[in-house]
Symmetry: C2
Subunit: 434 residues, 2 copies
Amino acid sequence: MTARTLQGFMELLPEEQIVMEKMKAVIAHTYELFGFAPLDTPVLELAEVLLSKSGGDTEKQIYEFKKGDTDLAMRFDLTVPLAKYVALYNNSLTFPFKRYQIGKVYRGERPQKGRFREFYQCDIDIIDRDELNIVYDAEVLAVIYTVFNKLELPAFKIYLNNRKLLSGFLESLNIADKTVDVLRLVDKIKKIPEEAFLGELGDLGLPEDKNRKLLEFIKIKGSNSQIIAKLEDLKIESENYRSGLNELKTVISQALNLGINPDNIQIDLSITRGLDYYTGTVYETFFDEYPQFGSVCSGGRYDNLSSVFMDKKFPGVGISIGLTRLFDQLRANNLLKIGGPTPNKALVITQSPDFADQAVHLCGILRQNGIAADIMLRDCKFKKKMEYANKIKIPYLVIIGEEEAASGTYTLKNMATGEQNLFAPDELIKQIRF
Amino acid sequence: MTARTLQGFMELLPEEQIVMEKMKAVIAHTYELFGFAPLDTPVLELAEVLLSKSGGDTEKQIYEFKKGDTDLAMRFDLTVPLAKYVALYNNSLTFPFKRYQIGKVYRGERPQKGRFREFYQCDIDIIDRDELNIVYDAEVLAVIYTVFNKLELPAFKIYLNNRKLLSGFLESLNIADKTVDVLRLVDKIKKIPEEAFLGELGDLGLPEDKNRKLLEFIKIKGSNSQIIAKLEDLKIESENYRSGLNELKTVISQALNLGINPDNIQIDLSITRGLDYYTGTVYETFFDEYPQFGSVCSGGRYDNLSSVFMDKKFPGVGISIGLTRLFDQLRANNLLKIGGPTPNKALVITQSPDFADQAVHLCGILRQNGIAADIMLRDCKFKKKMEYANKIKIPYLVIIGEEEAASGTYTLKNMATGEQNLFAPDELIKQIRF
């Protein structure tokens, strides 16, 4: 039998996995700092529940199968399970409901570079009943900002927009009936030349003068305050437009009020997030120097989370980080600080098996004092033990030889500086902790 | 469309999920303290890989399906994926290889009380090439001991045995050819009456006098040192037996050397873990007052992890905690300290929407200082905000009214003691941290 892992499924070596787990922990911890509670839903759901709202691509990609008489499917995102969860448990939940979920999702697409069939999504959503305060859209910005700062990744910018601005603008051009198609098309503007974009608008049956106005509109550039001033100057007569502009202003001012660096947010009127799903604020996040990564954190505001399951209205705002792909891209570009294959802070080794009992005892004491530690228990030469210590990149080495065993003070070697001294256990713990 | 979750799949409310996540974090942290590195393998594998070593029940329970031309299956434990991983990557791994994995596994058995189709296993294993030092079996004991202490659960005992003792004893009775069957039968001794046990031994074709001797042997009681003395007094002539007895003595003495409380470990000669897989030390863990939970942490030593995939020999020792079932049992017996539905430490509320900007700003400062905090942004009466604060069981409430807004000092209310005072932001942070 040949050992094999399926294509499109990430499997890491310990030294990489340690970095991945740290990233997950930073993300979870930041989400909790902003008051999001953890949620965990099943990977398997009834197929009809997962497919309740989806179309073409999803159905093709989903892992779906029968067990007994039941049609089952593996979740392809964390949003549909959240919609189900809120519909099921809304009477037991406290609103506003802020939840985060870090979990694997599955898409059986053709494997290709940078695409995974199993990947982690790290989602947050804030859901309320009937109405959700717009300041939450600023909170989500602050979460993205804080997460990416804490992850110590390359310089990034969060691009934001409000879909009501574009819909309002289309109303003012009297082409509101084409809003869904136009917003989907605008979402592609960065990937196709301007002339192709105008051509595709023409294919929708829209006149050239309006298309050029639209192009001009989504190309408005400048600082956030300059763009807002320009948007105000346009004096568009549309309730939607005015509401979108007010929301955008509030989101930016409250994000700054929450303490985020203004250099990290940028209004971009061409951001729409193709999905019909979003109804107001939309976000995308790019690394300044690595635009080819694509958006590493996206999301937005939606009017009604659970509409396929119930009549009650649950508006929300949320974002998702596609962690597996992000990790893969960072690794490919040497942007991860990868250390050794062990979480250990200290390794205890002996110069002779006679001191094994003392080594085991000392290692126990280190752990009881909260220091991740290990003993090299292989019966091998001292030189081999030193090689092992170097291979696992241990920060501190504790050596027990004849002198140490007799005196009860142990050699502590700082592997980074090469410094070494004798210490009693108490002092040794302090040195490692320091 | 009706929102529904599949039977046998655990889905928790936020206040429960917070406890579950804390348990996972304690387990992961303890595993790392003992030098285990995290591992994450796919939930989906090639069916032939997962079924390479299994028999009857597994094949019936496994979620298996075709996607395109490929036979896929969802993992039913974390051991087979580990065997595959070590076979695939052994040239890149550093041995001894200590890994932990906390992940969901899937068994499509008939749902019944206390049985789940999706559940978390929390595994550790220590793997070496060719030979693995017996002291690692003591390390595993120390891990179980430390995990259960840190989880702050009811009083527990770890029962241990060494399968070589029983095989050696059977050799001395000249019935070594029945070892596999007898060990499986002994595993059931706690669940059936003695006469039935003797009857089943008889059904294997074994004579009654030997069966009575066997029963006497596995019923040897006493303190650990008394049992060891009795085992020595038997003077069994078997290499296997002597080796098992020496291993057992080393495991116990090194576990004590590592600092575990002797009251928490107990030799029990009737523990065999039915599986053929185990070859030496075996462990089971029971709560003293809740034997009906069954073993909440089990495992043992095995000679060769990856034998179905390769010729190289990888002996190991490991254990698994079935976390989903454990959580479910603890919850059913009110043994979990369940708090509120939010990780927040502080909630900021205002007496009028006029102070919303100040509330947002203060909340940002709290978070920048590492305090999980939230603002109540719903536009509602102050009384409703207080009700919300009580409902989410927030530890600290920060109130901004006219006086606070004007002075820049805010009312901090400790919700446990009812105490409240005015503080400037710096002092307020110190109070909450304290």
